[in-house]
Symmetry: C2
Subunit: 189 residues, 2 copies
C-alpha cells in the first residue's frame, strides 16, 4: 500500500512513471521499454523491474492520462499523412507489448467501469483526431463525400486491430490504400 511505502520507493516509482509517460508521448508505445525508461529516469533497470515486472504493466500505467501521438496534427495533403499514420499504428499493434496493453484495455473495459472510461477516452480521442484530419481533407478540396465521421475510426483502424490481434502479420500497403479509398472519394485519383 502506498501509505506504508518507503518515500524513496514512492519517489523512484514516480520518476519511472514520468519517464515512461514522456517516452510514450514523444515516441509512442514502442519506446516504453525497461531499458529506455530506466535510462530516461536515470535509475537502474532493476528499479524499473521492481515496480513493473513486465513492460506491458508499465505501459498500461503510463497510458493512463497521456496524450498519444497517433493522428495528431495533420498536414496537407492529408492522404499521405494519414497513410503514414496508419502504417505507424499497424507497426505498433504488431508489437507484443502494445498488443498486450490494447487487448488488456479492451478486455478490462467489458467488466471494469474505470477501464471502460479509459477505453472510451482513448476511442474518443482517436475518433476525434481522425475526424479532424478528414475534415481538413474535405476543407482543402482533397476529399469529397467522406465516410460518416462516426464510422471513420472503425473503418480505418478496425482492420489494423484485426490484423494485430487475430491475424498477426504484415499490413500490406495495398490494404492501407483500400481503406483510404473506402473512407471517401479523393480528388486527383
Amino acid at each position: 500500500m502506498a501509505d506504508t511505502e518507503d518515500p524513496r520507493v514512492t519517489r523512484s516509482r514516480e520518476a519511472v512513471l514520468a519517464a515512461a509517460r514522456e517516452l510514450l508521448r514523444e515516441e509512442g508505445p514502442a519506446a516504453v521499454t525497461h531499458q529506455r525508461v530506466a535510462a530516461r529516469a536515470e535509475v537502474g533497470r532493476a528499479t524499473v523491474y521492481r515496480h513493473w515486472s513486465r513492460p506491458e504493466q508499465l505501459l498500461t500505467d503510463a497510458m493512463a492520462g497521456v496524450r498519444m501521438p497517433f493522428f495528431l496534427d495533420p498536414t496537407t495533403p492529408v492522404r499521405p499523412w494519414l497513410k503514414a499514420q496508419l502504417r505507424v499504428l499497424a507497426d505498433e499493434l504488431a508489437l507484443p507489448d502494445v498488443l498486450a496493453v490494447t487487448t488488456s484495455l479492451l478486455h478490462g473495459a467489458v467488466w471494469n467501469p474505470e477501464i471502460t472510461e479509459r477505453r472510451d477516452r482513448l476511442a474518443a480521442m482517436i475518433g476525434g483526431r481522425l475526424r479532424a484530419s478528414l475534415e481538413m481533407a474535405v476543407r482543402t478540396g482533397e476529399l469529397r463525400a467522406a465516410v460518416d465521421p462516426g464510422d471513420a475510426a472503425a473503418l480505418l483502424i478496425g482492420p489494423l486491430l484485426y490484423r494485430g490481434a487475430l491475424e498477426p502479420g504484415p499490413v500490406p500497403d495495398a490494404l492501407l490504400d483500400r481503406l483510404l479509398d473506402a473512407a471517401g472519394t479523393w480528388a486527383d485519383r
Copy 2:
C-alpha cells in the same frame, strides 16, 4: 481437480458443456445463457452456476472446438448473404458476453500459447470461410477484382470488432455497404 471429483459432478459438467456447444453451434454465442443451457441440458440453473459462475466462462469453454455458424455455407447472390452475415456478427459483438469472450481470447493469445492456438484456429476458420464466399462471388461473375484474399477478414470484420470493442454502438447499414464496396468491384452496381 478432475481426478478427485465426484463422477456425478463430472457427468453434470459434461452434460452442461455439451448443451452449451449445441446451442453455440446452432444459434451462435448469444444463445449460450445460463437459462437456455440449463434447459437444454435438463439440469437446474444452479448446476450450471456451480461449474461456471459467469456466462462468459461457459461460453469460452464451449467455444473450444466448436464449429461456429459465422460465414458458413454461402448462397448466391453472395453480397446480400455476406451483408446479412456481417450484420449478425456485428450484433453478436455488441453483446457483453460475446465481447468478453472475444477480448479474453485476444488478450490471452498474447501470453498463453494454448490460447494463441485457439485464436489462430478461429482466425483461420473465419478467414477461410470469407475467402470461400468471395471466391464464389468471383466464380459466378458477381464480383470482379476482389481484395487480396488474405486481407478480406481484416477489412470486413476489423471494423465490426472495433465498433464492438472500442466504440460500442450500432453498426449502420451504410458502413456494411462501404466495407463490401471496399472488398472488390461488384457487378450490377
